[in-house]
Structures are given as structure tokens and as C-alpha cells.
Amino acid sequence: MMLKYVNTGIVFQEIPDEVTLAINISGCPCHCPGCHSHYLWEDIGLPLNTDAIDAFVNQYGRNITCIAFMGGDGDPKGVDMLAQYIHEEHPQYKVAWYSGRLRITSAVNKSDFDYIKIGPYIKHLGPLKQPTTNQRLYRQNDTGEFEDITSRFWRK
């Protein structure tokens, strides 16, 4: 299945300290009960490929610091390929992935991502903002290790 995206947005809360272009990818296979983005379950939208990435880069230039793939669990290798492409062709950006899976498949090279969020949305445990959440956001640090920064969402 080809990756497709429905819309994009400039977001601030998803990835701490970054100004992020979030790309909402459709065809999500996770189907979490209580999902906030039901419309992303369908296989709809425009093709998400390197041309689409170039168009975003052209549009936003240096105004953004990070590109985030929201979903794409139907084709994890496709997401990885795009992450790799961004790091090679547009090294000024960080790359993030919001996955609904419990773990990242071994077919994916995690080091292609600067941020990875994992975990399905489980209603009674709540979203990232709740300290009870099952979801985790990791940041790759200078030594290439992934550091759990979920607690950044709990400040205040």
C-alpha cells in the first residue's frame, strides 16, 4: 500500500522545542478504540513520496525545524525511506515519527529518526499529556541513543 497523506499542519506540542510540520498519513491500520482521527483509517488523500516532501520543503523552507510523520504504520519501510531521504537531501530538518505500534519493527532503521513516539492510544490511560499514558516519546541524543522524553509533556 502506497503512503498517502490527508493534510498537514504546523504544530508545537507534538515535538517539544521544535516548530514541526506534521503530515497526517491515512490508511492507519492500528484502529485504536476511541481514536481521535477516525478519518485517517481510510486509504484516502494524496501520494506521500519524495516529490511531496520536496514540495513541503519548498513551501516552508527554514521556517520549520522538524518534519513529523503522523501514522504510516501500514508501510513502516516507506516512512523510513522518506526519513532517510529527508536526512540526506534536507539535513537541516529533524525527522519525527508518531507510530501507533507497541514497538518499531526491526525492518526500520530507528536511527533515521530524531524523535519516535510509540504506543497505541488507550483511552483510560490517556494521551501523552497524562502522566498515566502508555505512549512514549523518545529523542535520539548525540550518542545515538534514544532517550525517553515523555515527561516533557507533563510539565506545569
Binding site: 504546523i10 508545537f12 507534538e14 517539544p16 521544535e18 516548530v19 516552508y60 523552507g61 527554514r62 521556517n63
Partner: protein, 698 residues
């Protein structure tokens, strides 16, 4: 006179069946009042002169009766009739005022109750605000008369008539017509530093120490503000304060603020002494003011990075021959911002409106990294203030809206620093939505039609300027004479309103696109062309997108009533549609970027509405975005939550009080330049605030 069934228009605008009896009665009464006999023959002779038509107004009928009486030679009766009419019209005036009085006292808040000049800057309505409201209609009449008389003298009666016609048909709007004073000013405090307030009618001598500075400053700002109808900016406030603190505790006081400063039992530290003065000044200036209809003074201050400071005050000398000390000022600016931000969680403090002036390099990086970082830090801590960015210290915005070109960075021993003095003498606003729709509907090229309107505005402004000069020549404007305001550095401002709405009427998409940009540049470029054409060595014009706190509401209402296309109840004060949630933050910066604001010489502040506070790193990136897009003037606006039950103030946008968990909460937001409780805005403006799109942070 032919008697048939037709209607007349009564004074309140309603229609009524025409009644011959009523007219006959009035005529008979007029005769009786001077004991002249009036038989049916005489009355019908007079009636014969009357020329009635459908929808004739009561005033017109009475005019005709007057003339008819005179034509028939009943001069005594005519005189009595005229006097009778005058008496009634005076009665009606009083009656109207009484009606207003009762309506005002029953209205929800002061801004909604205000008939002529709704302003949110009044917290409560009471007898003091009522006293301010009552004479407003008289001021409007007086101002129009003063202006049209002058226009007649300078350009002839047709232009004066044209002005009134365009004004009453809402093609243009005269701002602040309810006040006699010139509009707003960024003042130099140097004359006060040298002479105290005696020259402007006060009784205090020049400040000599920190205590007399703090007390005198407050009095001076009150005095200056009472002679202005709008804002008063004191861009030198902290610089002078730093000078006096230095005199008291040594120039390096900021290196040891924890040192004990007084011998009282309280053993106050230097820091405590300083913040106590902050408290005294800020709280006093936020008080409702008697001379300003119970509004607080619209006080503005400025902060500078090192480069701005050097360019504006590099040549400045204090009376003791010393120069301003950057290191001390830098510390004091930060201290004030931190203190003010914290104080705002205790009390709702509207003033001062603060503007940070930052110089950026060609890559959009702040030249003074320390101050760029600090700006982002303060935003991330929830402080609400404006930022003015420029790649050249040739312009500055020290007021909540007004931007000025600095032509004179010099220093004079009588006037102080040249760069801080600016302001707007008067604002005359063009209702672009109506003008453009009118032109298009009448198959006129809209730019050609606008040219006529813009030209008219410039002439009217020049007439205003002559009136102001006359007031000055009679000694009525001591702020100018004493040098607080430099009349030559004051602008005559052409305001614009309804730009986005006009573009929507033209079928344009309000996004960063070439067609919309072309439309914006066409209009603003035209205004700038006239601004330059009318500029002389004595007068300067600028163009400003006015904040339209109440004008935007009025224009929308009037235009809708007259059948124009009106897409919202309050015209925008931005280049984008405020409730459009498809625009990203970056789009909004683009729409207030260099290509759009290029000709907007008087400035327009982008109010970037966010639902949640961002991190320091994110604000730093947005400062870069602003610099890169050339958006030179902006603020971030996150509604603060005020609990109506327990009074707790939270910097976040919440639906429930985190302290007492009440859901009876109100919000403080920056709808115009000022941070105020949403419930203090006029009804129409409150609706705008609730519709306003706060960019979702997730």
C-alpha cells in the same frame, strides 16, 4: 396643496400617515401665541404654499411652514414658530440625553453602553464614566464644525460638503471625534528632566533622586495623557530610572541587588527598593483617571537590545554630563519584565503596553543574542508584549501600534534624544470595503475612486493640522511648546479598515498568494503615493491598519444596513481572516511579512493567537520566522484565565480554575493593543474574541 394619502418620516425615522389636522393645528397655535387672528382662509392660504411628497420629513414640513408664513407677511407668527421649534429641539436634546442616561445605566458594561466611542479600557461604569459619555455628541458636532469651517477656508465649500457627505455615508471615519485633543504621542522626557512639570502647568520641579523621579514621573504621565486623546509612550522610562538608581546606589548597583539599601526595620534590599518603585508607578498609572473619563492612561514603554540602545541613546547626555549606562539598563529592563510578568498573575494590569526593539541580521538572527534569547524566554514564561524587529535601527515602534522612521538620532540639550519623539496628531480612516464595493457597483475603477477619497482625506488632515497649529499659537498645547512632543515629528495618519473584507468581495482568497498581494500593494501603494505627495517639511503622513476596536464593528453594521457584502460582524485588523483555521502560524507571519506591510508606514501589529504557550526554543524559531518573512511588529496572544469566583489568574487558556475548580472563568486577551478582560469589551467585540481562532497547539 393636494391632499392625498401619503406618509411622512418622523424624527426617529419611523413612518406615519400624513395628517393635515396636525399641520393646521400647529399653524393656528403659532397665530394664537402672538395673538394674531387666524381664520380658515388665512390657514388655507398658508397651506397652499406647502409642497408635500411621499416620505417628507417633519423638519421639511416645518421649514415650509416657516417660509409660507413669511411669504404671506406674517413675520411675527413666523418668528414665534421658529422660536417654538428651537425650544422643542433643545428639549429633544435633553430628552435624548436622559434616555441615554437610563440606557447607559442599564447596559451590561461601559463599552457596550458607550454610544459614540466604545473603548474597552474602562473597567466599570459609574457616575464618572457617565459624565464622560454625556458630552460626546456635542464634541462630535463641535469637531465637525471646526474642521469644515477650516476646509471651507482652505479649499472651498464643495470640499467641506464632500467631507461631511463621505463621513455621514461611512466611506470614511474620523477617529476620536469625541475628544478635542490630538491623538497619541511618544514623548521625550528630557524637558521634564530639566525643568519639571512647570512648563506644562504643573508645580513640580525637576526630579533629583529616585524618589522624586518615581513620584514626578507618575504626575507627568497623568498630565501629558490628559492633553492627548490616545496613548502616551515613554520610551525612556527605564533609562531614566536606571540613571536615578545609579545616583542613589552606584552605577554598579545591579551587580549586588541583594545588598541592604535602607536603615528601616524592614532592611529592604536594593532589589526590593527598585521593585517597590515599579509597584508604585505601575499600580498608580493603572488607576482610572478623572481627567480621562475614568479611563486609565494608555501608558507605553519600550525595551531595547544593545544595538538599538546605542543607536538611539548613543549621543545622549544627562544633566550631570554622564551618559546612559547600558549594563545597568539591560539589567533593569530584565528586572522590570520579570517583575511585571509575575505581578500580572496577582492583578490584572493593563499598562504599560511594552515593546521590545530588536535588531536582526540578514539571516534573521538577533544581533544581540542575549536579548533575542531573553525575548523568547519571556514569551515562554507567558509574558505578553510586542516585539519590533528591524534590520536597521532606522525605525522604531515605541507605542502600541505606531511605527516611525527615525530621521534624527541626534541629541539636543533642550529636547533630548531625537529618535524617541513621534506620534499621530489625528487619524482619518478609509472604509475600504465600502469604497471598493461602491466603485465596482458603479463600474468605476476602484483605484481611481479610492484616489479621490485618499486625496480628500489628505486635505481634511491638512485642515485639521491648521486647526491644531492655531490652538498651539494660542498657547493651548504646552506639550508641544515645552518640547515633550515635537510637532514636526508627529504624523497625520490615514487609517484603513475593511481591507480583507474588500478583498473577499473581489473574490480573492485570503492566503499568501500573488493576486491578494497585488490587491494589497495596489491599495497601500496608492495611499503611500499620496502620503509622499502631500509631505512637506512641516507635515508628514503615514498609513496604519487601525486596531478598529469599535470602528470595525460600526463599519460592518453600517455597510450591512446599506446592502453591502459584509462577511463578518467586525472588520479585521489583520491581513488575514482571524477565524480562518486553515491558515498556519507561518502563513500568518507571511501575510504580515514585508511584501504586505511594505507600504504600511504607520505599522500594523500582528497578534498571533495561540491556545497554549510554546517553549523558549520554539519562540526563538518563530522570532526567526518573523525576521525572515519581514514581519516587523507582532505579539503572541494566549488568553489568560481569570477566575470569577476566587480571582486566581493563570497564564494558560483554561476552562476551569486550577485553584478552586470553578468553571465561571473569564479571559484576558489583547483584542486591541491592550490586555483586558474579555467581558469588558463591547458586546460585538466579545463575539469576535470568542470566534477568534487560537492556533491549536495539538
Amino acid at each position: 396643496m393636494e391632499i392625498k394619502n401619503f406618509t411622512i418620516t418622523k424624527r426617529d425615522g419611523t413612518k406615519d400617515q400624513f395628517s393635515l389636522d396636525k399641520i393646521m393645528n400647529a399653524i393656528v397655535k403659532a397665530f394664537e401665541s402672538v395673538s394674531e387672528p387666524a381664520d380658515l382662509g388665512i390657514v388655507s392660504k398658508i397651506l397652499n404654499h406647502l409642497d408635500m411628497h411621499d416620505d417628507i420629513t417633519v423638519e421639511e414640513i416645518q421649514n415650509q411652514v416657516e417660509e409660507a408664513l413669511m411669504r404671506e407677511g406674517y413675520y411675527n407668527v413666523a418668528k414665534s414658530f421658529i422660536l417654538y421649534r428651537q425650544l422643542h429641539s433643545e428639549d429633544r436634546d435633553t430628552l435624548e440625553k436622559m434616555m441615554f442616561l437610563s440606557e447607559y445605566t442599564e447596559s451590561v458594561n461601559a463599552a457596550t453602553g458607550s454610544k459614540y466611542d466604545a473603548n474597552a479600557n474602562v473597567e466599570h461604569k459609574n457616575i464618572a464614566t457617565l459624565i464622560g459619555e454625556l458630552p460626546k455628541s456635542n464634541f462630535i458636532r463641535l469637531n465637525r464644525r471646526l474642521l469644515t469651517d477650516r476646509i471651507k477656508k482652505m479649499y472651498g465649500k464643495p470640499l467641506a460638503d464632500e467631507y461631511i457627505d463621505k463621513l455621514t455615508h461611512h466611506f470614511i471615519y474620523k477617529n476620536d471625534e469625541t475628544s478635542l485633543a490630538n491623538y497619541c504621542a511618544s514623548i521625550t522626557m528630557y524637558p521634564w528632566l530639566i525643568n519639571g512639570t512647570t512648563e506644562i502647568g504643573g508645580n513640580s520641579t525637576a526630579p533629583t533622586n529616585l524618589k522624586s523621579f518615581a513620584g514626578g514621573f507618575v504626575n507627568m504621565v497623568f498630565m501629558v495623557s490628559s492633553m492627548l486623546s490616545g496613548a502616551c509612550a515613554t520610551p525612556e522610562f527605564l533609562m531614566y530610572m536606571n540613571y536615578f538608581i545609579g545616583k542613589e546606589y552606584g552605577l554598579d548597583y545591579w551587580k549586588h541587588p541583594e545588598q541592604q539599601a535602607d536603615l528601616s526595620l524592614k532592611k529592604r534590599t536594593i532589589d526590593k527598593v527598585i521593585t517597590d518603585y515599579f509597584e508604585q508607578i505601575v499600580y498608580t498609572l493603572n488607576q482610572p483617571t478623572g481627567a480621562r473619563n475614568y479611563q486609565a492612561v494608555f501608558w507605553n514603554v519600550a525595551y531595547y537590545d544593545k544595538y538599538y540602545f546605542q543607536s538611539i541613546f548613543g549621543e545622549f547626555y544627562f544633566p550631570d554630563g554622564s551618559q546612559p549606562d547600558w549594563e545597568g539598563l539591560s539589567w533593569l529592563q530584565k528586572r522590570f519584565m520579570k517583575w511585571f510578568n509575575k505581578e500580572r498573575t496577582k492583578t490584572m494590569l493593563t499598562f504599560p503596553v511594552e515593546t521590545m526593539a530588536l535588531l536582526v541580521d540578514e539571516n534573521g538572527e538577533c544581533k544581540d543574542k542575549e536579548w533575542g534569547d531573553f525575548t523568547a524566554e519571556m514569551y515562554s514564561e507567558g509574558h505578553s508584549f510586542f516585539t519590533y524587529m528591524s534590520d536597521n535601527a532606522d525605525s522604531l515602534s515605541s507605542c502600541c501600534r505606531l511605527r516611525n522612521e527615525i530621521t534624527d538620532n541626534g541629541f539636543s540639550y533642550t529636547l533630548g534624544a531625537g529618535g524617541v519623539s513621534t506620534g499621530s496628531k489625528s487619524v482619518l480612516t478609509i472604509n475600504l470595503n465600502r469604497c471598493i464595493q461602491y466603485a465596482v457597483n458603479h463600474k468605476i475603477d476602484y483605484l481611481e475612486y479610492l484616489s479621490g477619497i485618499i486625496d480628500l482625506c489628505h486635505k481634511v488632515q491638512l485642515a485639521y493640522n491648521e486647526n491644531l497649529k492655531e490652538l498651539q499659537s494660542r498657547g493651548m498645547l504646552p506639550l508641544f511648546d515645552a518640547g515633550y512632543i515635537n510637532i514636526g515629528r508627529q504624523y497625520l495618519t490615514i487609517g484603513i479598515n475593511g481591507l480583507v473584507e474588500a478583498a473577499e468581495f473581489m473574490g480573492l482568497k485570503i492566503t499568501p498568494n500573488d493576486d491578494y498581494l497585488h490587491f494589497v500593494q495596489g491599495i497601500l501603494g496608492l495611499i503611500e503615493k499620496y502620503n509622499k505627495q502631500y509631505r512637506t517639511k512641516d507635515v508628514m503622513f503615514n498609513c496604519e491598519m487601525i486596531p478598529a476596536e469599535n470602528v470595525g464593528v460600526k463599519h460592518a453594521k453600517w455597510d450591512r444596513e446599506d446592502g453591502y457584502f459584509v462577511p463578518r460582524d467586525c472588520y479585521n485588523s489583520y491581513f488575514y481572516v482571524v477565524e480562518d483555521d486553515s491558515l498556519t502560524i507561518i502563513d500568518k507571519f507571511k501575510l504580515h511579512g514585508a511584501p504586505y506591510i511594505e507600504h504600511l508606514t504607520g505599522g500594523s501589529a500582528l497578534h498571533m493567537n495561540l491556545e497554549e504557550h510554546l517553549s523558549k526554543e520554539q519562540y526563538l524559531q518563530l522570532l526567526k520566522v518573523a525576521a525572515k518573512e519581514g514581519c516587523n511588529y507582532f505579539t503572541f496572544n494566549i488568553p489568560n484565565t481569570v477566575c470569577n469566583e476566587c480571582g486566581h489568574i493563570d497564564k494558560r487558556y483554561l476552562h476551569e480554575c486550577p485553584h478552586c475548580h470553578s468553571t465561571n472563568v473569564d479571559y484576558m486577551t489583547r483584542i486591541i493593543g491592550y490586555l483586558k478582560r474579555v467581558s469588558n469589551f463591547s458586546q460585538a467585540r466579545q463575539e469576535e474574541a470568542s470566534r477568534r481562532y487560537y492556533a491549536h497547539a495539538n
